[in-house]
């Protein structure tokens, strides 16, 4: 029998200063809605010997093999009561929800503070009159496909996880039950598409995300976040590569655990489901945190960062500042195009004047 170790620690005694700090903040906030346990208050205080205790212990199968024998065929049909269910429930209510919630809030606050300090990172040489082709239509399609699937799953998943403490007080139980049902069905149905998106994104981008010489240097210099100097980097920098590999590995954990949860076809029992749920939630919260940072850079964090993913072309100066090794090679290959050429290839743009009506030579 596999005993899920992660379920065995029973309280969040901080192991580092960071944890402690987070927990201090956490416990200083009113959390009764989260931690309120549905234990009857009328329970007698004195320990009366319960004649059913013996039976109860046996049924819970604490000290014996977990499965009994039964005529009923099915997964877990020999288990009367899952002994770990309560541990899992406690973990979800007392650790996962509060810690996860404040961690996400912490990321948002940290980014806000960072934005207030640094503002939008500009293109230092300001926008040039040339652009480099950065992402093909296919690459942009699969990126935004992944993005839309991820956002939908993140929002529905967060509603399911934090709905009880956050949304029930706002919407009331009845409305929330409808919302939760909708989110659950939507999350389960769209979920498998994340695997599809992950495969598409992985196979298209993996080659450019293999760590290269110079990546460590980027890390040592803090990726240019600490201090104001830009650090040399390739098509993708160390940070992007790390995000990619997190997406691949953490994403794989999320996908596998998700499939375990949504398709009870592989003979998995409740314990496996509990384990999968814990992996799924922690992995997803981690990725959501990372993606919040990713979205921050793309939107308000940095000038020119989202252009490549939007139009397929990025500003030459931006490329030189943020991905100089790639930009240099691309420019050498003669890939740089003038802004006018790019406008023609991407948008509704008038034809070059050589083809215009004005050049019509009459009488020929």
């Amino acid at each position: 029998m596999i005993r899920p170790k992660i379920l065995q620690f029973d309280d969040g005694d901080g192991r580092s200063a960071g944890w402690l700090l987070l927990l201090l903040i956490l416990y200083s906030l009113p959390l009764d809605t989260i931690a309120k346990e549905p234990i009857s208050k009328d329970l007698p205080a004195a320990a009366v010997l319960n004649p059913a205790a013996e039976l109860w212990r046996d049924v819970r199968q604490r000290d014996q093999p977990t499965t009994g024998s039964t005529q009923v065929r099915g997964v877990d049909s020999g288990v009367l009561i899952n002994a770990y269910g309560d541990q899992w429930r406690k973990f979800r209510m007392q650790q996962l929800i509060p810690v996860g919630g404040y961690a996400l809030m912490g990321i948002v606050i940290a980014l806000a503070v960072f934005y207030l300090m640094r503002g939008k990172v500009p293109i230092e040489g300001s926008e040039s009159d040339k652009k480099l082709p950065r992402y093909s239509t296919y690459e942009r399609m699969i990126h935004w496909f992944m993005a839309s699937i991820f956002l939908f799953l993140a929002i529905t998943g967060l509603i399911l996880l934090f709905g009880r403490p956050v949304l029930i007080p706002m919407l009331g139980k009845e409305a929330f039950s409808i919302l939760a049902s909708a989110c659950k069905e939507g999350h389960n149905l769209i979920g498998p598409l994340f695997l599809f998106a992950l495969i598409l994104v992985f196979s298209q981008f993996v080659r450019r995300n293999i760590y290269q010489k110079g990546d460590l240097n980027w890390l040592l210099k803090g990726g240019g976040i600490v201090g104001k100097k830009h650090v040399s980097s390739n098509f993708f920098n160390m940070g992007e590569k790390t995000m990619f590999w997190m997406l691949v590995f953490v994403g794989a954990v999320i996908v596998i655990s998700g499939l375990v949860l949504v398709f009870p076809l592989f003979g998995q029992g409740r314990e496996w489901m509990e384990l999968a749920h814990v992996g799924h939630a922690i992995g997803a919260l981690l990725m959501i945190g990372v993606i919040i940072g990713h979205i921050y850079i793309g939107t308000i964090g940095m000038q020119g960062a989202i252009e490549g993913m939007k139009t397929g072309y990025c500003d030459l100066n931006w490329a030189k500042e943020h991905h100089d090794l790639w930009a240099g090679r691309a420019e050498e290959r003669g890939e740089a195009l003038s802004n006018e050429e790019v406008a023609q290839l991407t948008h509704n743009h008038p034809l070059p004047s050589s083809l215009g009506v004005r050049t019509q030579e009459a009488g020929k």
Binding site: S148, S181, E185, I190, P192, L193
Partner: protein, 213 residues
């Protein structure tokens, strides 16, 4: 109550608009007329038309060498949506109860899930292609986006109502389907019917010339 309205009068209204609208659109096209072709034919117009109606379900190689993803997405979406629309148990029940009184076997649950995955993946990818590819970006107008958004809403609300446990979710799905039905005859969604006409006209012209189109 709003629920009764969506279930009753609005449903009747939207179905009527849809049916009359579609018939009106098709009749308007047919009534515009086409001059008879006086050139001596080399092949059969009828056979050419019939051939084109079916042959155009498969793409020419010229378009398969470029951008395979939108093609695959096109198949995923259309096949998935078709299966969901006509072979999902709740839809069959609904059609039997509200429209025809006839019912037919539904697809199994796993096929339903697969069809839904296909349809969602296809529609999202197609719409992304529409806004990201320079050609479709240039061609697309408001109608294309409204059509895509309405179909997506119908699919999404349907998937959110999958538990079939909450009346409001079913009503939202039905309401979005009704909006789609009302919008349908006035939009590009009409291609679901007129493609047969376009293919036939072209197929007939080419068939007369002895070209398999």
């Amino acid at each position: 109550m709003i629920g009764q309205f969506i279930d009753g009068p609005l449903w009747t209204f939207s179905l009527t608009v849809f049916l009359i609208g579609v018939v009106w659109r098709i009749a308007a096209i047919l009534m515009a007329g086409k001059r008879p072709d006086l050139a001596t034919p080399k092949g059969s117009a009828g056979a050419g038309a019939l051939r084109a109606v079916f042959s155009r379900f498969l793409p020419e190689r010229t378009v398969t060498t470029q951008g395979r993803l939108p093609l695959i997405a096109g198949y995923l979406f259309h096949l998935g949506l078709f299966a969901l629309l006509f072979f999902a148990q709740p839809h069959i029940d609904f059609i039997a109860e509200k429209i025809t009184g006839l019912s037919w076997p539904a697809m199994p649950h796993w096929a339903f899930i697969v069809a839904a995955e296909f349809a969602f993946a296809g529609l999202i990818l197609l719409w992304l292609h529409r806004i990201l590819h320079p050609v479709t970006r240039l061609l697309s107008d408001l109608d294309d986006h409204i059509g895509a958004v309405l179909v997506f809403l119908v699919m999404l609300t349907g998937c959110l109502a999958l538990a079939q446990a909450f009346e409001p979710l079913r009503l939202i799905h039905l309401l979005s389907a009704e909006l789609l039905l009302i919008y349908f005859p006035f939009s590009k969604l009409m291609h679901a019917f007129t493609f047969v006409m376009s293919r036939s006209y072209t197929g007939a012209t080419m068939g007369r010339k002895g070209v398999n189109a």
